[in-house]
Each structure stands twice: as structure tokens, then as C-alpha cells.
């Protein structure tokens, strides 16, 4: 079965699910899951295809969320314009910071990206005048579109899932193009990649920027969807959660990653009493996956070409 047909079927299933489930709590969780899928799809391009790790992606989600929210709340800018500006600024920041950082390899890259995430987190935490600091930022308006307001769960659900599927579709297109082949070459045979005319460093910075674009877009939507953001949603643990979703889903598998990010976003929301145990479970998942299942759930989706 081709990837795109499977994607279409999945889209129909998600839409039908949305129309039949009336419970706003479930729709709310599914919308949040869609935002995770967006971030993780972007991270999958970086980690799964280009083989470059980032432990700071929650920071970029935070930038998308905070910049758009601050523009909208403090400067009264139209939410859509604020989102576009936030995504643009964050992606630009990603490109600028990615330029030196992606010269590093393997564990050095992991540490450097972790540091970037921590920097953003600490700025958000400390710049109280604009961000509200640890208390968070409230009063972010709801999105509306020419008078059509996303005021019910189902409206946002349809909007965010449609967007998510478009973004996945774009990623699949990219991976099936000459650039996808180039990134697979960079991942496994970096030195040989030069010989095929691939400007390895530039390509790395580019895919990093794309993944930052996905992350910041999800962050901005998150802010306007919940109406409230606080630094605790964008910490190191969240960055690692994203990596867990990619790794368990199977690096480079869009559908494996899709299901793990939905499941791993929803489960902690249902089992809130077990909150303290999530890091332990996530840690164990990573260890076990690397020891026994280095391809994650990828094997389950082998029949999709």
C-alpha cells in the first residue's frame, strides 16, 4: 500500500472519530495529540532521516508559543499574524543557532541542543515582564477566521488535524524526493555524501530549520488553543518525550511515530495520578527500545511502501 493512501485512510478515520465522539475531554486530548504529532513529525525528519539529534525541541515549541502569545496579548496583534511572525522568528533563530551547532556531532550535538533548550526555558522563566515568568501567561485570545471562531472542541479538532495531515504529507513528499535520498546518505555515510555533491552542513542546518518550523507552529497553536501557557510545559523532560516518541515509533517511520506520539500524549493525560512515574517509564522505554528493538515500531508498518 502506498504511504499516501494509508495517510488518507488515517485522515478519514480521525475525521470520522471526531464527528462521532462528543466528549469534549477526549477531543481536547486528541487535539493536543495532533500538536505532538506535528512536533514529532518535524523531529523525525531531523533525527530519523538526517540522523541528527536534538534535545532542545521543547524550547522551540516554547518560542513559538510565547512569541505569538506575547505579540497577541501585549501588543494586540492579530493572532494569525502573531502565529506567522512567531513561526518565522523562531525558524530564523533555529537557522542561526543551527549553523554553529550542527558542526558538532553525536553526543556533542546532543549536549549543545540540550543547552539551547535550557537557554530558551530559562529566558522564558526569567523575563517576567513579558512572559509572566513561572506563573505563566494568561488571556491569550481564541483563534477566529473571518468571524468563524474556533470556539468548540470539534472545530479546533478538525482544523488542527487537517493541518497535521498536510504537514505529514509534505514530509513524506520531501523524503521521497532527491532531498530525502540526500538525507539518508548524510545519516549513514556522511563522507560519501560530499562526493555526490551534497553540501552536508547546509543540508543539516536546513532540515534542523524545518523541524524548528514544525515545532514552533505547534507551539503557537498550542498557546491559542489553551489560552494559557507556562514554562513548565516546555522543559527538558518534554524535549526528551519528543525523542522518545520518535525512537519508539521507529526513526524514519512516519506512521510508527504518528501512533507513538498520539498514544504517549494521551496516556499521561488519562493516568494523571501516575505523573511522577512517567520519566521512569520513558527512560525504561528508551533503554529497552535501544537494546531490543532498535527499529521501534517501524517493523509493524513495513507493508506501507
Amino acid at each position: 500500500m502506498s504511504q499516501k493512501i494509508f495517510l488518507l485512510i488515517l485522515f478519514v478515520v480521525i475525521m470520522v472519530f471526531g464527528f462521532f465522539v462528543k466528549n469534549p475531554f477526549i477531543l481536547n486530548m486528541m487535539s493536543l495529540a495532533a500538536l505532538s504529532v506535528i512536533v514529532v513529525t518535524g523531529l523525525n525528519l531531523l533525527l530519523g532521516f538526517a540522523g541528527q539529534i536534538s534535545l532542545g525541541h521543547a524550547g522551540f515549541v516554547a518560542m513559538g508559543a510565547y512569541i505569538s502569545a506575547v505579540f497577541s496579548v501585549k501588543f494586540n496583534i492579530n493572532p494569525w499574524v502573531a502565529i506567522v511572525l512567531a513561526v518565522f522568528i523562531t525558524s530564523l533563530f533555529g537557522a542561526v543557532i543551527g549553523y554553529p551547532t550542527l558542526k558538532l556531532k553525536s553526543h556533542y550535538l546532543a549536549m549543545a541542543t540540550l543547552a539551547i533548550g535550557e537557554i530558551i526555558h530559562s529566558v522564558v522563566n526569567n523575563y517576567v515582564d513579558l512572559t509572566g515568568g513561572p506563573q505563566g501567561l494568561t488571556g491569550i485570545p481564541m483563534l477566529s477566521f473571518f468571524g468563524f471562531s474556533f470556539d468548540s472542541e470539534i472545530k479546533f479538532y478538525i482544523f488542527v488535524w487537517t493541518l497535521t495531515f498536510l504537514l505529514i504529507l509534505m514530509s513524506i513528499n520531501l523524503v521521497n524526493s532527491r532531498f530525502g535520498r540526500a538525507y539518508k546518505a548524510i545519516k549513514s555515510k556522511e563522507n560519501a555524501a560530499y562526493a555526490f555533491g551534497i553540501n552536508v552542513h547546509f543540508y543539516k542546518v536546513f532540515i534542523f530549520t524545518v523541524s524548528v518550523f514544525y515545532a514552533s507552529l505547534a507551539g503557537a497553536l498550542y498557546a491559542f488553543y489553551l489560552g494559557f501557557i507556562s514554562p513548565s510545559s516546555f522543559g527538558l523532560i518534554q524535549s526528551i518525550d519528543y525523542v522518545v516518541m520518535v525512537v519508539i515509533g521507529g526513526m524514519g517511520s512516519f506512521f510508527g511515530v504518528f501512533f507513538t506520539s498520539v498514544i504517549l500524549t494521551i496516556l499521561p493525560n488519562i493516568l494523571t495520578s501516575l505523573e511522577d512515574y512517567w520519566p521512569i517509564a520513558n527512560g525504561l522505554l528508551l533503554i529497552l527500545a535501544m537494546m531490543f528493538m532498535p527499529n521501534g515500531l517501524k517493523g509493524l508498518f513495513k507493508w506501507i511502501k
Partner: protein
Amino acid sequence: MDKIISIDSITKSFGGIKAVDNVSFFVKNGEIKALIGPNGAGKTTLFNIITKLYTKDSGSISFMGNSIEKYKSYELIKLGMSRTFQNIQLINDLNVLENVMLGYHINMKSNVLDAFLSLPKNKKYEKEAEKTSYYILRFLKIDNIEKKYPNEIPFGYKRLVEIARALVSKPKLLLLDEPAAGLNESETNRLLKTIFRIWEQGVSILLIEHDMNLVMNCSHSVVVMDEGRKIAEGPPSYIQNNDEVKRAYFGK
């Protein structure tokens, strides 16, 4: 312009050891030139300097009359220089056809937006890459394995796929790094014929090789290196009877 590439007094040391020591030679247009020498003679190092994976300490290289000083390693293929590797560098996540298409990367003019949105331009170039790659596979008579993955094909085929990938960009100079290493006799014979057929298409070839038989049968001219220095150069018959070459290979 009868020199396709000319290498002029190249020197490179690693921590005090001269891996390549003041080596000069050139490859004529439409010539098959072999670079031979015992292990550790500096052949692959020289290859990596030519393809800019290593930086040289001194000397200069010009390709088709122009210095390649200002070009980066990933720009050389655009000039018409492509290479294979001593250790097979096929991408395991890509099948044979896709591996060869990777070699066509720079010939495709579609940009990332075309790719993201799968625009007609992207499709057009994908088709073109597929067609050209398939044509090259058929030229090398390995089109029957196009859908296989690198870990599913025999070693001899992997070498040929590498050569196909280097050929698909239509190079003017092909650099082969020990193409016969690890091949059995019949595979080597097949390689020999392949090299001639590539040469017939007007491609100049510079190859590093250990297999003397192959070198003596296919090359027009041979450069011998030992301990980083060039010790002899000339047609195969001359090299075969050169005392210094014998000394380097068999001791005193």
C-alpha cells in the same frame, strides 16, 4: 587542453609523517591511468586530497585547465569529477536504483519547495533521474537488481553499483579507488570489460588498484607510489621491468 587533471607537487603530512610527499603527475584526456603502490604508499590519501576530503599542505591541482583551489568537496562533481570508495559506501536504506539516483542529485534542478509540495517540476526530475539511472544500470548489465537493497546483493555487484552511481552524473573524469578489491577472478574480468566500456564513452579514468593483472591489462599509463613519493611513471611494460618498482614491492 589535453590534460584532464594535473597534480602538481602535492604534499600532506599527518603528525610529522609525510603521507604524500611532493607528488606530481597528470592524466591525459581520454586516458586510463593507474595509481599503484604497496599498502600505506599514500594512494588513497592522494585520492582524498584530489576530492577535497583532506586538505593538502602544499601543491596545486587543476582540473580541465582550471585550479580547483576554490571549490569545496561537494562542488567537484559539478565540474565533472566523480569517485567510488575503497570501502563500499552504498546507503543501506535505499535500494540499488535509489542509490544510483543519489549520484544524479546535482543534475536535478527541483528545489525544496517543489519537493515538499510534490510539484510537477519535482516529478519531472524524479522521472528523469530514474530513467538515467536505469539506463546506467543497464549499461553495466546490472538492471536486474534495481529493486534490491545493498545488503541483499553479492559483493561484486556492490562495486558495480558504486561505479554506476559515480557514472550517472556523466563525469569527465572517473576516480576509482580499488575497484577490484575483494572480487574473484570472473568478477575482476567483468570489471575489466566494464572499465573499457566506460572508457569507450569518452570518460577519462584514474584508478587505484592492487591487482597487477588488471592494471597491466587496462591502463595506458601507470604511476607508482611508495612511502608517499612517486617512484616511477610510464606505460605498463616499462613499469613491469623497473628496478625501483620491484624493490618497493618485493624488497631488496
